[in-house]
């Protein structure tokens, strides 16, 4: 009996002691698109401000929006700006969109024997994902890639199985370049995919493409880079083949910086400009304009200020592009709206 009691005490202490040190955690959830840099940011910020602990779960943009609506997280994150219907559903507060970084969604592939960087036209991408182009050596792909020996193998398409802002960016782009896609599938965080396997999160899609020969999927640039997976050039609106880089993604946002709406909700896919990468996007933090808990409010505001200044320096190193300066200035003003 005594030993049982002792064991019980040890277990109780073991569960209580570590948690006694736990600071007040701020819970956030949402997009997997920016998850790598968010996790880096939250960890960096926590090292500098030990009392602020932000627990970010990358469950997809759809998840971020849903959990913010249900009130189970303190703020959300999404690559798709909330539409009016979604905003209307939240009655307790107004949602403030804070763009954080710019990123690009790239077509990453795993083709046996092919290490070259492929060029994809808009028709090719739409055709592959709608299921019309089924083999890698289809004319639509080979004519853009002379000199590359593409195998006569079936294409395995990999898409997202969860509600994803990355999906929104990808399908938004396809809807703009392919009338057939727009009519048949449309754009959204979760669509009725004509073909393909589903992977959970950017992590899941990159995992699947990495393991499945002759497959192609769409992921945020950092996932292809971190996992050393090849990704292709995409033909932009001006007709040039562009790879997602710091410069090309920044170029895509150049136009938006001037005409940014007050609530920061904008889409920059298929942007004009010779050097612009056509599948670029802002990604947003969704912050309530009314936060009751004063400690949390100050912590979140402090984080946002840091993110817009020091945090932006981390972007380039992680294959994201930092926000254009005019936008940063506008956002700093919006922080004051958080009461």
């Amino acid at each position: 009996m005594r030993t049982n009691f002792l064991i019980g005490m040890v277990v109780a202490l073991a569960t209580v002691v570590p948690t006694a040190y736990a600071a007040d955690t701020i819970n956030a959830a949402g997009a997997t698109f920016p998850a790598p840099i968010y996790q880096k940011w939250f960890q960096e910020y926590h090292s500098a401000h030990g009392d602020v602990q932000i627990n970010y779960q990358s469950i997809g943009s759809g998840g971020g929006i849903r959990q913010l609506t249900e009130g189970t997280v303190d703020f959300g994150a999404s690559d798709m700006p909330m539409n009016n219907e979604q905003i209307g559903k939240i009655t307790k507060f107004k949602v403030l969109h804070f763009p954080t970084v710019l990123g690009g969604v790239v077509p990453t592939y795993n083709i046996e024997g092919v290490n070259a960087e492929l060029k994809f036209s808009a028709e090719a991408l739409a055709g592959i994902f709608i299921g019309k182009i089924t083999k890698w050596n289809d004319a639509a792909i080979t004519r853009d890639n002379p000199g590359v020996k593409l195998p006569n193998a079936d294409i395995t398409v990999v898409h997202r199985s969860d509600g994803s802002g990355t999906t929104f960016v990808w399908t938004d782009y396809l809807s703009k370049v392919s009338a057939e896609w727009k009519g048949k599938v449309g754009a959204g965080t979760a669509v009725n995919w004509p073909v393909g396997l589903g992977g959970k999160g950017n992590e899941g899609v990159s995992g699947q493409v990495k393991q499945t020969p002759n497959s192609v999927g769409y992921v945020e640039l950092i996932y292809a880079v971190q996992n050393k997976m090849p990704y292709g050039f995409v033909k932009n609106a001006s007709g040039a083949y562009v790879k997602a880089t710091f410069d090309s993604v920044t170029a895509a946002a150049a136009g938006a910086a001037k005409d940014m709406p007050a609530d920061f909700r904008v889409s920059i896919t298929n942007a004009s400009g010779k050097t612009a990468y056509p599948i670029s996007s802002f990604t947003w933090l969704l912050i309530p304009d009314k936060i009751g808990d004063a400690t949390k409010r100050e912590a979140i505001k402090g984080f946002l200020k840091w993110m817009l200044a020091a945090g932006q320096n981390d972007a380039a190193g992680m294959s994201y592009a930092p926000l254009p300066k005019p936008i940063v200035a506008k956002e700093l003003k919006q922080i004051a709206d958080i009461k």
């Binding site: 997809g60 759809g62 849903r66 609506t69 193998a153 079936d154 969860d162 965080t189 589903g198 499945t212």
Partner: protein, 321 residues
């Protein structure tokens, strides 16, 4: 409750009252807890029903035979998931029942007791392995195996039929069924073995006395007696397989389509709920997912009920003289 002596009525009555009060309290306490079990289950069914209300209202019975799953346009149909759930479970059964019943026969009839007990112990431990661990092993061990060897071979041998078409993804309905088969073994084996053990010895001895070989005695005299129990175990395993979430989600490919080919990816009810529940932004989407949960629940109840019934009949038949 025997009445106390009437000798000292006042004292006896107080004594009785105390004693009975103790009993009453014990009765009450245990009753409350037991009633809470019934209450919580009732609330569960009620919540499921209420929360799927919006979806039931919009789609009605069409829900069960429509194939579209379109969150953008709020069109939801359960058919691909019901199909995926049923096909993976049935395929899993096809793979595990012969092996499982064969093993049960061996363990109950043919193996020496020590070996039988040791092996049964091991098999029953298999039932304790968590689903997510099966999934972990499936992703890293089974899927590459399927993709590199098994599926290409199946395609080359049977690719002419519609059931084995398609590129060897590695993931897909067949892989998920195999994982389910491994998870169903322990249930089929242990319940069938119990059913076989219950068959009266006289059956086997009578067959042997008539000159049957050991196998013939087992197959023709003992097994038919335990038939109901074995079928019952199949139903119970099926019910369990239908609700399996993690292991299946990790290897099925997550594609809500109905495909004749078992090498193609699919989607089960449990998997789509696990994947999409935290992210369903539309209320109709959430309601549709909960309705799927309700459908799964109903299917499981029916199968479990049938299985229990069959098992009850076996035990009665086995011990009836």
């Amino acid at each position: 409750m025997a009445t106390a002596a009437q000798s000292v009525p006042g004292r006896a009555r107080t004594f009785l009252k105390n004693v009975r009060a103790g009993d009453e309290i014990a009765y009450l306490i245990t009753f409350v807890f037991a009633a809470s079990v019934v209450l919580i289950t009732a609330i569960l069914v009620f919540e499921l029903w209420v929360k799927s209300g919006a979806s039931i209202h919009k789609f009605g019975f069409n829900f069960l035979h429509t194939s579209t799953w379109d969150p953008v346009n709020d069109e939801f149909g359960a058919l691909p998931f019901v199909y995926g759930t049923i096909i993976t479970s049935i395929l899993g059964l096809l793979l595990s029942v012969p092996l499982g019943v064969g093993a049960a026969i061996f363990l109950s009839e043919l193996a020496p007791p020590k070996l039988s007990n040791a092996l049964t112990f091991l098999v029953e431990l298999l039932a304790a392995v968590p689903s997510v661990i099966f999934g972990l092993l499936a992703i890293f061990a089974l899927v590459p195996l399927m993709r590199s060897f098994v599926q290409p071979w199946l395609i080359s041998a049977f690719g002419w039929s519609p059931f084995f078409k398609g590129p060897p993804y590695g993931f897909g309905v067949l892989t998920a069924s195999m994982v389910l088969a491994i998870m169903m073994f322990p249930y089929i084996i242990s319940i069938s073995r119990e059913a076989l053990i219950q068959v009266p010895r006289e059956q086997r001895e009578a067959a042997l006395a008539l000159g049957a070989t050991r196998w013939e005695a087992t197959w023709d005299a003992v097994v038919p007696f335990a038939r109901l129990g074995i079928v019952g175990s199949v139903f119970l395993s099926l019910a369990r397989a239908l609700g399996e979430t993690m292991a299946v989600t990790m290897v099925i490919g997550n594609d809500p389509k109905i495909n004749a080919s078992i090498l193609a990816p699919g989607y089960t009810i449990a998997s789509v709920i696990a994947n999409e529940f935290t992210e369903a932004t539309g209320d109709m989407h959430l309601s549709a997912l909960i309705e799927l949960g309700l459908v799964l629940f109903l299917i499981t109840i029916i199968l479990n009920g049938l299985g229990q019934l069959l098992l009850m009949l076996t035990t009665r038949q086995g011990t009836a003289r």
